[in-house]
């Protein structure tokens, strides 16, 4: 495989991780919470689409719409039925929230398996066109779509946070929910919107990535971990930070096995996690708080 | 002349452009009770944190019985320090008895080998009469009852009492009490005063931080007044109360004579 092809693959993985990380970012900034279930929202996006197309003969765009709506709905349920209750009840402790999100992740994983089966299904392309060739390297349609969507999603997120009222409130609400509530800011609404957007984003990401290697009900967990790692590596300094984190992980994911073979990308990720969590837990791009 | 237990020299704490404590020095003799007073933000709790090891000092040194006192809080506790906290740190789901036991139990789990052996010992023999009696003695001394109640059910004053009992269970050389009287009723105050006297009788020492200057003055042998990170007075309690430094720090006036007509009397 030519070097450029590898770089393209790394970029593709990077964009995938980066989009998931952006979903994490939205919920972290808006609700102060690490929503591990995002991996399973992406899984539902991909698996539901594939299932509907393959077993219910649905048009791919219609199936995608249903799947993405399902992901967003699951995200809303996560916030309304689970996270809000648990955080209200045990405010200070991190452990109850962690267990709660693990339970949600597990439940969605089981639900996915129950509804859509336990086998790996091939991803569905939203649009089919000839692969794009640049010299020796070939970009599959799914790759092009994923890269394009990455640009669109990040740009839209950046614009939303800077120019809309809710977007600007996002950080205020997440930073100090109590104070924000006292100020009369619509805390619950902003939180819910953050969760909904993350579900939507994750769902689309999942279905766009699924063509690369298929999707099964168990995919959610490793996607959840990768997205989380990408977000931590990138930091919360800017809305583009998750993309930086994602690309770094994408490079690890593709180049480490290339040089070291086998399953070494898992070791690579573990090493990155240990290094970053221990030495640079605020990530590459740290928020500058003006004194 | 009583033995010098604890010496602090030039203790300074700076962080992020703020100087919480500047060049504070003191000595503490065996059997002595030192009161630490000052307005909010004066650095009282910071000084306690520096002594106990909860925070590292930016500059300065501490010696306990001639030995350098340094390292993490656990090491200093093993050397003979015990403390309570400004906001009680209790295991709220455990019983009062279990919380009181911690100080005593911790002494048996200080090293790695004790931690490992302690697990086996605990599984084989979970309860001992010696521990139960010691806990009851602590409770009696402090006037705590209802030992089976979860600590979370207690009032703030009761929780402070339990913390003091726990610290006493460590049989410390120096007992550091951070605002033990805040939120306590008369019974609680009495219990803590008894503990302070007991420690004194054993030949050990106490450093007592509190806002209630009158109460502290009646109890301690010496008062150290802190203001904005510096020690501005160190001496007899009565002398401290009458000192110009006290007036300056608490009332913002240099000359006591001025306060009579202009400032409304503070109801004590």
């Amino acid at each position: 495989m030519g070097q450029l092809q590898l770089w393209l693959s790394a970029l593709e993985m990077g964009c995938f991780f980066g989009l998931l990380a952006l979903a994490y970012y939205l919920v972290l900034v808006g609700a102060g919470f690490f929503n591990f279930a995002i991996g399973t929202y992406a899984m539902v996006g991909g698996l539901c689409t594939s299932y509907l197309v393959l077993y219910e003969d649905m048009n791919v765009w219609a199936a995608a719409a249903v799947a993405v709506l399902a992901s967003a709905a699951l995200a809303a349920v996560t916030e309304l039925a689970v996270v809000r209750q648990v955080q209200r009840r045990s405010g200070r402790g991190e452990l109850p929230a962690l267990v709660a999100v693990a339970a949600v992740l597990f439940a969605i994983q089981q639900l996915g398996g129950y509804l859509f089966g336990y086998t790996t299904l091939p991803g569905q392309n939203l649009a089919t066109f000839d692969p794009v060739s640049i010299g020796d390297t070939v970009a599959q349609p799914s790759t092009v779509l994923l890269l394009g969507f990455t640009v669109v999603a990040f740009a839209a997120a950046a614009a939303w946070i800077r120019y809309t009222r809710t977007g600007r409130l996002l950080r205020a609400v997440g930073d100090s929910t109590h104070a924000a509530g006292l100020l009369g800011l619509p805390v619950n609404r902003v939180r819910l919107i953050a969760f909904l957007l993350s579900g939507l984003l994750a769902g689309i990401t999942g279905l766009l990535f699924a063509p690369k290697a298929g999707v099964s009900s168990l995919s959610g967990l490793s996607w959840a971990l990768s997205g989380f790692l990408a977000m931590v590596v990138g930091g919360t300094g800017s809305v583009w930070a998750p993309l930086a984190g994602g690309v770094l992980l994408g490079l690890v994911e593709v180049f480490v096995p290339y040089y070291f073979g086998g399953q070494s990308h898992v070791y690579g990720l573990l090493l990155v996690a240990l290094l970053f969590f221990a030495f640079k837990p605020s990530g590459l791009f740290v928020r500058r708080i003006r004194a | 002349m009583a033995e010098t237990l604890l010496v602090g020299e030039g203790l300074t704490k700076r962080y992020g452009g703020v100087t919480a404590l500047q060049d504070v020095s003191f000595t503490l003799a065996a059997g002595e009770i030192l009161g630490l007073v000052g307005p909010n933000g004066a650095g009282k709790t910071t000084l306690v944190d520096l002594i106990s090891g909860a925070q590292p000092a930016t500059e300065g040194a501490l010696t306990l019985r001639g030995q350098r006192l340094a390292g993490p809080a656990a090491r200093r506790a093993k050397a003979g320090l015990a403390r309570t906290f400004q906001y009680p740190q209790l295991a709220l789901e455990l019983s009062v008895a279990d919380n009181l036991l911690l100080g005593r139990a911790a002494r048996r789990h200080g090293t790695v080998w004790q931690m490992i052996a302690g697990a086996f010992a605990g599984a084989l023999r979970p309860h001992s009469t010696a521990d139960a009696e010691a806990v009851r003695a602590l409770a009696d001394e402090l006037g705590i009852d209802g030992l089976d109640r979860p600590a979370g059910d207690l009032s703030l004053g009761e929780q402070r009492l339990v913390e003091v009992g726990r610290a006493l269970g460590q049989d410390p050389l120096v007992l550091l009490l951070d605002e033990p009287f805040a939120g306590s009723d008369a019974g609680g105050v009495h219990g803590i005063v008894e503990v302070v006297r007991t420690v004194q009788r054993r030949g050990h020492a106490v450093i007592l931080v509190d806002h209630n200057v009158d109460l502290v003055a009646g109890l301690v042998d010496r008062i150290m007044l802190l203001d904005r990170g510096r020690a501005v007075f160190d001496g007899e309690p009565r002398a401290c109360l009458d000192s110009p430094q006290m007036q300056q720090v608490y009332f913002g006036v240099a000359d006591p004579a001025e306060t009579e007509e202009d400032v409304p009397h503070v109801v004590s």
Binding site: V82, V86, Y114 | L101, A119, G122
Partner: protein
């Protein structure tokens, strides 16, 4: 409640239930497998009890520790001629050592970060098992294991089942006593008030490592047990599902006592492996049940049974 022999209430209940289960099992091979699976799940959950429920740090590396126990049995059986029972010493010791190393590497982490790293570690361990073919047999794993042999006596499968139930009850009993002991008080205080524990003279990070080591060792015992009764072990034997279930089992059964983990394991295995309708939906029901319990009944089955008992006994719950 004050017990004359600390831990006896739990033990008596546990032994009674165990005896009933063993009677029900009899010679039925399927049921025997069910019980050894339950015992394994229970041991992994009990392994998580000390560091997670007592010390408050959630590590998701337990699949790896069970795997170490399982591969210890597999390797000792296929590569050496040593008595097989040594695997239940070697496995836990290695698992404890690995837990300490991982604990050292993650000592500044907590909550979500710790969970993520330990989960990654578990996945890396599985990857290592696949990669290190020469040692571990690769993705095929190790099979055709020897039988246990105590000086000529070879226990039958049913006797092994009894043995695993005895081990589970024994460990639950000891952990119950540990919880009530001064050691338990120190560790449980570490969860909510670590500053107090440090100020009393116990280095919290070190005690945490000891708790992790104990937990890993117990999980390894379970792994070894499962491998022995299954007769083989592969990298996929101890799945990540097991780790999640291990978190949820004490939740279902009740986290006030280690017996809650055991009860949770019984319920979990019933639902996931023995569900009469469709096997697959059992796990889903379990998952949804966990959510319900988390939100509505955080004390689990035993917690509510205890409250009910107090109500019935005439005292306010």
């Amino acid at each position: 409640m004050k017990q004359r022999v600390p831990g006896s209430v739990g033990l008596i209940c546990g032994v009674v239930v165990a005896a009933l289960i063993l009677l029900w099992v009899g010679a039925d091979g399927y049921r025997q497998t069910l019980v050894t699976t339950t015992a394994t799940y229970a041991l992994v959950a009990l392994g998580m009890y000390v560091p997670y429920l007592m010390a408050g740090s959630l590590s998701m590396a337990y699949g790896a520790y069970a795997g170490i126990g399982g591969y210890a049995v597999g390797l000792l059986s296929t590569r050496t001629g040593l008595p097989l029972v040594l695997a239940w010493i070697a496995g836990p010791v290695v698992a404890a050592a690995v837990a300490v190393l991982l604990g050292l590497a993650t000592r500044r982490l907590s909550g979500f970060f710790l969970a993520a790293v330990t989960l990654l570690f578990g996945m890396a361990f599985t990857a290592l098992l696949v990669d290190a073919e020469g040692l571990s047999g690769g993705s095929g794993g190790l099979g055709s294991l020897r039988k246990l042999n105590f000086f000529g006596w070879e226990p039958s499968h049913y006797q092994v089942v009894i043995g695993s139930v005895v081990v589970v009850c024994g460990i639950a009993f000891l952990l119950d006593r540990l919880r009530m002991s001064p050691w338990g008080v120190v560790v449980r205080t570490m969860r909510d008030a670590p500053r107090a524990v440090e100020a009393a003279g116990v280095r919290v990070p070190v005690m945490n490592l000891v708790a992790l080591a104990i937990g890993a060792a117990i999980a390894a015992v379970g792994g070894g047990l499962f491998t022995y009764s299954a007769g083989s072990v592969t990298p996929d034997t101890f799945t990540l599902n097991l780790v999640f279930l291990a978190i949820f089992m004490p939740l279902i059964g009740g986290s006030a006592t280690p017996w809650g983990a055991v009860l949770g394991a019984v319920i979990a295995v019933e639902l996931t492996l023995n569900f009469p309708v469709i096997e697959t939906s059992g796990t889903l029901i379990l998952a949804l049940g966990v959510l319900v319990i988390l939100l509505l009944a955080p004390q689990g089955v035993i917690g509510y049974a205890a409250r009910l008992a107090r109500l019935v006994g005439g005292r306010r719950g």
